[in-house]
Symmetry: C2
Subunit: 497 residues, 2 copies
Amino acid sequence: MNDDTRYTELKQRLSEIWDLGKAGGLLGWDQQTMMPPRGAAVRAEQLGTLSKVIHERFVSPEIGRLLEDLHDYEQSLPYESDEASLIRVTRRDWEKEHRVPTELREEMTRAAWQAFPVWVEARRESNFELFRTALEHNLELKRRYIDCFEVDEPYDALLDDFEPEMKTAEVRAAFERLKEGLVPLIAAAANEGDDEFMDGPWPREAQESLNPIILDAFGFEPGSYRIDPTEHPFAGSMGTQDIRLTTRYPEHQLGLFATMHEAGHGLYEHGVDPALERTPLCRGASLALHESQSRMWENLVGRSRPFWHWFYPQVQRTFPDQLGDVEIDRFYRAINAVKPSLIRIEADEATYSLHIILRFELEQELIAGAVDLRELPEIWNTRMHEYLGVDVPDDARGVLQDVHWSRGSIGYFPTYALGNIISVQIWERVVDAIPDLDDQFEHGRFGELLHWLREHLHRHGRKFTPRETLERVVGGGLDAEPYLAYLNAKLGELAPA
Amino acid sequence: MNDDTRYTELKQRLSEIWDLGKAGGLLGWDQQTMMPPRGAAVRAEQLGTLSKVIHERFVSPEIGRLLEDLHDYEQSLPYESDEASLIRVTRRDWEKEHRVPTELREEMTRAAWQAFPVWVEARRESNFELFRTALEHNLELKRRYIDCFEVDEPYDALLDDFEPEMKTAEVRAAFERLKEGLVPLIAAAANEGDDEFMDGPWPREAQESLNPIILDAFGFEPGSYRIDPTEHPFAGSMGTQDIRLTTRYPEHQLGLFATMHEAGHGLYEHGVDPALERTPLCRGASLALHESQSRMWENLVGRSRPFWHWFYPQVQRTFPDQLGDVEIDRFYRAINAVKPSLIRIEADEATYSLHIILRFELEQELIAGAVDLRELPEIWNTRMHEYLGVDVPDDARGVLQDVHWSRGSIGYFPTYALGNIISVQIWERVVDAIPDLDDQFEHGRFGELLHWLREHLHRHGRKFTPRETLERVVGGGLDAEPYLAYLNAKLGELAPA
């Protein structure tokens, strides 16, 4: 075998693994959007099997040998080439994954998908006790998972799954800075506001009718995406031309921001270079970079004055009873009001990160076994009071609000706040590059923004590490200052005179 | 390893293969109901990979060895036991499948899923030429597939995939008898009728509103199925508690019969003994037995007087403009009118089988390479005139009307007419067993029918061969006479006085 044949062989094997991974992705998407509820038990088995087969095929000695034999070939190629990147990224994945026993990988997947419907039910009943055993089982598996690795602190192993090479210590430092900056900012900005009208009701059909307008304007190509309602919005993809967005339409809330958030995720996947299709490079570089895109479209675009200058008349026409009498300025203030609240995904830009910091700290304690799970709701409620000054009325609006733990996604939350930080770091570059950005938005034109993001970020997929990717886009490392400065400026402008 | 361990090992491997097969099933369902059209190319690759992985795992030497080692164990168990059946059926599957090279299996799957969107487009454009190359490729692969087996005639190898152990010669004989019986019957019964009202329009939302009533009455358990619109209706399942029905709502036609047809398929899968879940026994015994169930619910139930005695008032209320003035007797005659027509799935009970016989004969010629594909539309049209006396106006309503060839399903069509035959053989047993069946239907009660079918047919899944299964249910072999007698009686009653 020569190097070309070896490379082709490696790529072929990885494409097949990618196909299987996407099959699992569709089963997961389906479970959360389409599946009749009684299908859940068998579905968890199916997902467990897929993850076992993927793991087996990936950690196979054949792939290990190909990676070894391709070492010199990789070094001979430009670092930025698709080929060198595929070998390099696969090597890192392989070295990590082959430490995990197949049985554990399978069991983690099965346990996660078994826990999901349990969480749905527990949340519906607002009773954490119904979910406790499932959570305990998932935590126990995570501890076994952590034991597969040599890490400075246990949480590093979990974080690395979502944010490769990021350390807990680094996140802790960034979050300290955030807290320090946010607390006075929130205190100064928080106000009751004049926005009872935001409680709706917002009829579902009317909400739905806005989706295609937004998604088309943001740059999705026709015939390459769909959007469906779900319990807890997420985005996925079956390929760069098959993007699956989800959202929700609670009666008392405009689901539009969830749609824009998921659209941001979807556009990242949609914009990966088609040459990377069916390879492990065909997705976002990390969860924080993914969140930088979702938060950017949701907040930096979707809560900006120029955006609403364009879009508000259409929304007003869609909801004449609710918004007919509401001036654009009042609406703009309402969607940007700083108001400590119970639910993370409904939180404003300023308080949002405090929801994350709470979870980041709590997850580390959960993994350390420092929390008696029977007391978890109480602990949650106490901290919500401490961090945000709100009183949690029930588990559904407290410890049970998020899907992540049910899905075994522990170590994921920090990436949301990191995404906030990075979104503004990137935005500073965007604003430098496109001086008339506001004017474009006022006319409903987002193409140049998307083009810039594709060119600098999306098309590369997962070719570079998150750190390298960030460096390439913004010319530096993680830095919370732009985010704090942005919030300061925005909230300053909005403060009551 | 002792026998128990070996059996557990075999079952575990088969369950994993079943999981992968169901993942492929979901990808297929999704492609036909949910997928954004631009996802098709990557989807075909994903399905190709799944079929390759399934094939590899199934024909593995380990499974071959387990089957060999379990020979005595199997013989020691009752023939009807789940365990003996699993080993026996798997052995037959294995001996067949291990003759097929993995590359060919993968390529057949990929080619089929690549052809599907091509067919959709060709049908939309009503232009067979657009589909010709894809069909040629699928036929070529089928010829290579046939070469893997030793058969009396080539078509046997294809038929066996859908109707295990059935021979082309046997089908030919049954179809000869059908033709002989049907031609005079159709000539006597055909009439223009008094049923312009059947052309609708039937608004989609109103049509949809009838589905839950039917499906609930027929016996689907809540939370264990869903029904979606598609181009060409089909039914599938992800497990006995996750049934996927599809239907369509053409404006000029009541889609209700498609719904009842697919419900029949779905109820078969829904009723398999849960002990067989996640094994290769967890599906219908064959396509003809499956069709016996779909045709039974569609025709023997769904076009019967007692059924409409119960259901007609509800349908009338749903379509007051279309049916308000139509007496039940006129409606009943209309839905049972014998009228040679263009489209198989819209054909009446009497002419239906002629559509099948045409396809059965043509498929054999296609496989033999006896047809120049450029002339296929013309050949189709000539035969439609010959068999049914109708003139085909375009490819969409001619040779392009069915999905099957695009999906590589060649050898499938005969099972529809076999299903017609078997449905009435079974029905005779049902009527013997439940003397007040008509009365039950008149009150919208179908539970006893379903219970009987579950007890005698559904729960066994694929434990027995189709021949054994039929023997167990009706106490004999394939026999066209009951079907012809049933049609004679029904059409005689309906004939103009």
